[in-house]
């Protein structure tokens, strides 16, 4: 099966500019995640979608970050305006979701994309 697709792979912008990242999850996966990985740190969850609804956005800096998954398939993460501290790799992941999968597998495995590396100057 095809993996999680992300674009662009690299982006360099100046502070106060805007940027958008795109993610296409594995076909049929109901749950989609955006993680932020700052150099030297572990990935931190920004937002989780179940189909087209938001499950958890408690750590999303909503004054500058936004994300959508309008049709419950692909997703876009936007940063506007960007700050220097937003320099990171933005990882998208997907999983089958809750319900029947959970009872069979015991716990869903998240599949990650290659990430989008953002440098803010």
């Amino acid at each position: 099966e095809a993996g999680v697709a992300q674009s662009p792979r690299y982006k360099i912008i100046e502070k106060r500019q805007s940027v958008a990242f795109w993610c296409n999850p594995i076909s049929g996966h109901a749950t989609l995640y955006w993680y932020q990985q700052i150099l030297g740190q572990g990935p931190k969850l920004l937002i989780q979608f179940q189909n087209n609804g938001v499950v958890d956005d408690s750590q999303l800096p909503k004054d500058r970050f936004s994300a959508e998954r309008l049709k419950g398939v692909d997703s876009t993460l936007k940063i506007q305006p960007a700050k220097l501290e937003d320099s990171a790799v933005y990882l998208c992941a997907s999983s089958p979701g809750q319900g029947v999968w959970e009872s069979i597998s015991g716990a869903n495995v998240l599949t990650f994309g290659a990430g989008s590396r953002l440098t803010v100057l």
Binding site: Y33, G42, D56, G106, L110, F112, G115
Partner: protein, 115 residues
């Protein structure tokens, strides 16, 4: 709050020697624990998970991990390291509450295997 700790920033080992990458966890209830590996310029790849049952879990590329409830640890191991195992390794825990299978990651341990 649920969390994992990886006490070593880097682990160095000679090729052919056994390796251990340490992870301890703090959760309420029974933990769901995971190990992922990250190669340069690539996303995280799943290695193995512990849900329940046998404390020794076998995963991809010859890796295994031992769940120890009394020590709240989930150390990653491999009997004989390869140079190609050099990468960044992350331990993760899944919270139990709520309708979510999100993962909370540790800070990562860089494994360097020398020829």
């Amino acid at each position: 709050a649920q969390s994992v700790a990886q006490p070593e920033d880097q682990v160095n080992v000679a090729e052919g020697n056994p390796l251990t990458v340490k992870c301890t966890y703090s959760v309420s209830g029974n933990p769901y624990l995971f190990w992922y590996v990250q190669y340069p310029n690539r996303g995280l790849q799943f290695l193995l998970k512990y849900i329940t049952g046998d404390n020794l879990v076998k995963g991809s590329y010859g890796f295994e991990a031992e769940f120890n409830k009394s020590q709240t640890s989930f150390h990653l191991k491999k009997p004989s390291a390869l140079v190609s195992d050099s990468a960044l390794y992350f331990c993760a825990v899944r919270p139990h509450r709520g309708n979510t299978d999100k993962l909370i990651f540790g800070t990562g341990t860089r494994l360097q295997v020398f020829p």
